[in-house]
């Protein structure tokens, strides 16, 4: 495929992601350059690893006989932070809602929140993976990744 075709696809795709990724993701793109060509990939990879770990911890914590809401809140706070740092706004918002339910100490409600957060995470993960694939294709075709208007 031609480089400019790929670049156009990339921009179109990025624009379609505005519901899932906010301006912070654009900031990450800005920090990527020739001296750090893998920056976005690295941050996103870290986010995936981190998120999966937190989701596991949350699932375990909510499965306990005596649910430790403080611990759950701490995990969710962490997840809120990391999703915010990469611009995954729907995940972040789901975390905010989750924290409110933690305060209420309602196990069932929290379990539902966890499902919601998981869902949002998987959605944004799919989008990000597709985006990164497009980036790789552009680079492989010898092009540069177009800058986004943030």
């Amino acid at each position: 495929m031609e480089v400019d075709q790929l670049q156009r696809s990339f921009l179109e795709y990025t624009n379609s992601l505005f519901r899932f990724l906010d301006g912070q993701f654009g900031q990450l793109q800005l920090l990527q350059d020739e001296s750090n060509p893998e920056f976005v990939f690295e941050v996103v990879s870290l986010f995936f690893e981190d998120s999966e770990r937190i989701l596991n911890d949350l699932t375990l914590a909510l499965d306990q006989q005596n649910v430790d809401f403080k611990k759950i809140d701490a995990h969710v706070h962490q997840f809120k932070g990391s999703s915010s740092s990469i611009g995954a706004q729907r995940v972040r918002n789901a975390c905010i809602a989750f924290r409110n339910f933690c305060e209420g100490q309602n196990v069932e409600a929290c379990r539902r929140c966890l499902q919601q957060v998981k869902q949002e995470y998987l959605l944004v993960k799919t989008k990000l993976e597709a985006l990164l694939r497009l980036e790789q294709q552009i680079l492989a075709a010898g092009g540069v990744i177009p800058m986004l208007d943030s």
């Binding site: 920090l31 932070g81 990391s82 740092s85």
Partner: protein, 215 residues
């Protein structure tokens, strides 16, 4: 010894790996030397803080030959961290005679006015809301410049704006340059560039377990 370092060294403290990576990139983009640690206690250790106040009474930045101390021009720390919060770290630094003059900036994902005020009152220079952006990092330089100019023990400092300068050796290098002023324009070869790594005995910290990134 005189230090005409053009590169400022920032210590970033955050328990989140992603945020450490981000802040490191933001700081390096602004041409700062960066060290990241994941806790307040590691930060204090890196800064040479000691439980024993007597040990803290010596100016750590005057190079006393046997002391391996690293000069840090600014500390930027997350607020919410387990065990020691950014506020606790700030407080400990302000209580220490060797660390109180290092400017401290707090970052937080939560916009809590009472928290912000508390930190500013305790002596934090700035409070950044996360996610931190380049425009925030651009606010750091004046604080570091101000702290450097306050450091009266050091002899007159000629602030070199040249970004290729990197070490304290530079001042003696400059004298050498002027003596050989009609040498070739390859004078930059005599300057130690950052790619050669930090000067031994100087800025390379001796601590293990820290992520020290000097490039």
């Amino acid at each position: 010894m005189a230090a005409t370092e053009a590169q400022f060294h920032v210590l970033a403290v955050d328990d989140s790996l992603i945020d450490r990576k981000l802040i490191e990139r933001l700081l390096k983009t602004s041409s700062y030397q960066v060290t990241t640690v994941d806790s307040g206690s590691k930060a204090l250790e890196f800064l040479g803080w000691n439980e024993d106040e007597r040990a803290n009474s010596n100016e750590a930045f005057i190079s006393s030959k046997n002391q391996q101390v690293v000069e840090v021009n600014l500390v930027i720390t997350d607020y919410c961290m387990p065990e020691m919060t950014g506020y606790d770290l700030l407080k400990k630094m302000k209580e220490s005679s060797i660390l109180k003059n290092i400017p401290v900036v707090i970052m937080s994902s939560e916009n809590v006015p009472s928290r912000i005020n508390r930190c500013l009152e305790e002596g934090a220079e700035e409070f950044f809301l996360k996610p931190v952006r380049l425009s925030d990092v651009n606010k750091l330089k004046p604080h570091m410049m101000k702290a450097k100019s306050k450091d009266v023990e050091k002899p007159e400092k000629q602030e070199k704006q040249d970004n290729n300068e990197s070490t304290e050796e530079a001042s003696s290098e400059i004298q050498l340059q002027t003596q050989q002023s009609h040498q070739t324009a390859q004078s930059n070869n005599k300057r130690k560039s950052m790619d050669d790594g930090p000067t031994p005995d100087r800025t390379r910290p001796r601590y293990s377990g820290f992520t020290v990134m000097s490039n």
